[in-house]
Amino acid sequence: MKRLLVVLGAACFVVLLIGAMLDLAPAGIALHAAVSANLPSSGVEHPVTAVLLNFRGYDTLLEIAVLLLALIVILAVGIDSTTDVRPAASPVLQALARLAAPLMIVVAVYLLWAGAFRPGGAFQAGAVLAAAAVLLHLAELLPGWQSPGARLRLGLAGGFLIFLAVGAGLLFQGALLEYPPEQAGWMILLIESGLTVSLGLILAGLFLLLSRDDGDRS
């Protein structure tokens, strides 16, 4: 009964909404024009990066907060040692991982640098770093994490704090995150570098904290 109602409701919703979409007049405001108009003074050449870190950088700031928060929640909830049985990593995988990990780091650095003028940036770079960590972990070359120590915590929160510091610093000479066009470039690069490391650690942490097991308890 409930099932039926929900399915019917969903169906009606789809029909209605798509119908409404089809006879929709073009939007009055064209932000992409505004973006390309202001791109030169944004400090980066790639529009998406410009929106992410300059025009709507504030969204990104809060979003990093969300990510860090999720990690803290996972720590606070306390993951207890439920031993998930995992087949021992094959030597092949281990060799591959040893090979791949450094390459991935290089790729990450490239992505970070490329973000300024083409698709890429801190998120992609961070994700690759995290992937490397996960790969190493699956190859049992990197242990899962216990509650992180001071240094690791600094690494996790560092990127966010740099971002905050820059934003707050700019507040004193204007608005929050209001980069002076000439310095915008390096400031954004600084933020992105910080984020790359922290995002890598956080994303890796989300995995490594969840997937730690008795073997790793120290």
Partner: protein, 100 residues
Amino acid sequence: MSAGLLFASVGVILFALGAAGVLLIGHLLRRILAFNVMGSGAFLVLVGLAQRNGIADPVPQAMVLTGIVVAVAATALALALVRRLYALTGKIELPQDDEG
């Protein structure tokens, strides 16, 4: 219909599917997946509908990137809770009683 509208329509369908899933599925892992489907649907609508006239618009793209990261965070959190629940009760489903 333009490619953008097509994306958007697919997005709507995915959203509806996901929403129905979250409402109907008891198994928590699958429910989390359903939530992700739902989110992706919303993201598709965001990029698709905004660019239905074929002109690329970086703003919704950036928004979707932000949204994705948020969704990742939410998913990880949900998984952590599910895992904790499994550790405590050995179940991957929510009990039916409501009074809590």
